[in-house]
Symmetry: none
Subunit: 197 residues, 4 copies
DNA sequence: CATGAATGAGAGTTCATTCAT
DNA sequence: AATGAATGAACTCTCATTCAT
């Protein structure tokens, strides 16, 4: 029997915290700042969360999972159709991931790597990140295997190796992006050219 | 002579801080902890540094530059010899970078990404990181160009693109390493296979 | 009729608060905890009480007065009968006081001493406690005087002195009980032996 | 290599806290108040203690142990002399305990009972209190036994029972004292009269 | 050079209380 | 009568920094 304003406030807290976290990291973000930024007082933070840590988990689950659940459903469905072109699917996963988040790429990337760093001291976050990576990896692997089965992707390299390479490259490009050395999409295409026969 | 112990202490502070930073990040690291870990009290920290920020810059400059200065000299020298095999040089840069640091890979990587994250709120760090990336990129680029000139590396792809790709991959694999999904060296070889004719 | 649940709720608040107070003291007891323990939310506390302090007074009056009003009536009535045996009356007052409360001794004692401590910073409580002690003292004194008049209790000691002694002993044994050094009833009998001729 | 001012400040913190605790109890006593009352800021509290709890233990050990260690030595020594009058020894233990503390009785008693209440939620305090009571009980018991051996104290009652009774009475009178119903020393003499042959 | 005492700002958290619904 | 959102003051504790010794 929650009140609408409560749900709304909670959402605004998560949004504000997500943005602040991208800028300064989770530890450097104070509850006072979050609440001030949405025009509330810090006491009321605890109406919506039991602790600051709980807020982190909420951010993780609602803002940082790269929307795999929805994306995975779409991809897997398209994968089951015949004939199936896998290259656009892969590009969807690797290149369009940020746009599908409805989020500024730098904000998202920055928040994500803040989380990665934070995972070193928080087991829950560590577990979540690992499982998140596994989901992504598994999804990519499905697509690559399908590509190999249908003769679209080279078969002289193991599917899992290709998958790892793609994940590594996407993450690496995220990092370069943060260091202000963005890599253009054409470069990513070259990797794809190498993969596809 | 009379300052010998002082210089020694300063070095020990940097070393201790570097290791603690890899674990917990720079913000979460207290001066008290650093000094306790080397058997001194926090008051004397300010004998060696004017502020905590100054310590960060010292760490950056002495422990986190991937040893490019030394590495660059060696590489450039070998590059000027004839004949010159570039593949081992590239592997040296990408694969052996951590061993040349005399440092545990996870410690170094972790510290580096803590710094990366920190750069979002500190312009000095941001500038340093960018210039650091540029040095590395420039070094790699020299090697790739030499490889193309001597017919060892494919020329249908721009040297800068190959360089970016390699940097991205190395960084991406670092990240996977931190998420506990290490990538074996064989996989990196495949990327090299693609590059080399 | 329509307020039946309201009155019921108020009673349940007092009961729950009494038990929590015995465990943790009045200050350490939060309205949230009390209301949660009876399945209500803290907002509705203020339907029944104007403040937390008011709740304390309600507890004092309904749960902590050792039931003297009822007890006193019984004792005084029995005291007016002839012949009257005073020893069982005294034992009733001193030894059976807890059972007559329908309450666990440790709970009651603990709550009472929490209140005693609280009295140092609350004048209302202080006054109440003093008046409570006076009532008890007065009741005991009546019995002792009757005992002296009828030759059952030694007369070489002033009635008030005997009364004080008994009160002190009962309270002292409460304290020992709380420190986990319970005193058995036989010991109390010895005090009585000393009093009675 | 502590500084004199540090030791002095720590002592002043304990003194101030002891007095505030007597008035308001340990939980209601804020570090801010303590430090303000001695003209220091609350940040410096943690130079001397690691936590508020540690302060409680310091108070317990330095201000609340009724000085039994010193008292016990004196009593036991006098007990070994021949001939030995035990009545003054008992009176010393029961009546002069507060004066030997160099402390206002109400302050001491109040602080002690605050501690007793606090013991319900703190095992360290509980253990300490019990052991404290045991020491006191043991000391009293020695004196009573000596009194019985030398024919000064009645032997128709077990020594331990007499000990318990005395402890209970002293504690009970403390309580009456707090409720503002002080018991005069003459009354305590009557208890002694009963004991001594 | 090193120490330990002191500072003051700010952190996360709790809680009695108010109030629109 | 009951709810849950919001407030604001108070709490314990942390920490970069300063300074007399």
């Amino acid at each position: 029997m929650k009140y609408a304003t409560g749900i709304e406030t909670k959402k605004r807290i998560v949004d504000a915290a997500f943005k602040l976290m991208a800028h300064r990291g989770f530890d450097a973000l104070s509850i006072d700042d979050i609440m001030k930024s949405i025009g509330r007082t810090k006491g009321s933070f605890y109406v919506h969360f039991n602790s600051k840590e709980e807020l982190l988990y909420e951010i993780m689950e609602t803002r940082l999972d790269r929307g795999y659940n929805q994306l995975a459903d779409e991809i897997l469905e398209e994968l089951s159709r015949e004939p199936c072109q896998v290259r656009p699917l892969l590009e969807k996963i690797t290149k369009e991931v940020y746009s599908s988040l409805g989020e500024n790429r730098l904000t998202w990337t920055s928040a994500f790597y803040h989380l990665l760093i934070h995972s070193r001291k928080n087991e829950v976050v560590q577990t979540w990140l690992k499982s998140n990576a596994e989901q992504w990896s598994s999804l990519l692997n499905h697509v690559v295997e399908k590509g190999q089965e249908t003769g679209q992707i080279r078969t002289d390299v193991d599917a899992q190796v290709i998958t790892n390479m793609m994940m590594g490259i996407v993450m690496g490009y995220d990092i370069l992006y943060m260091i202000d050395r963005p890599v253009n999409d054409e470069e990513v295409n070259l990797i794809h050219d190498w993969m596809f026969v």
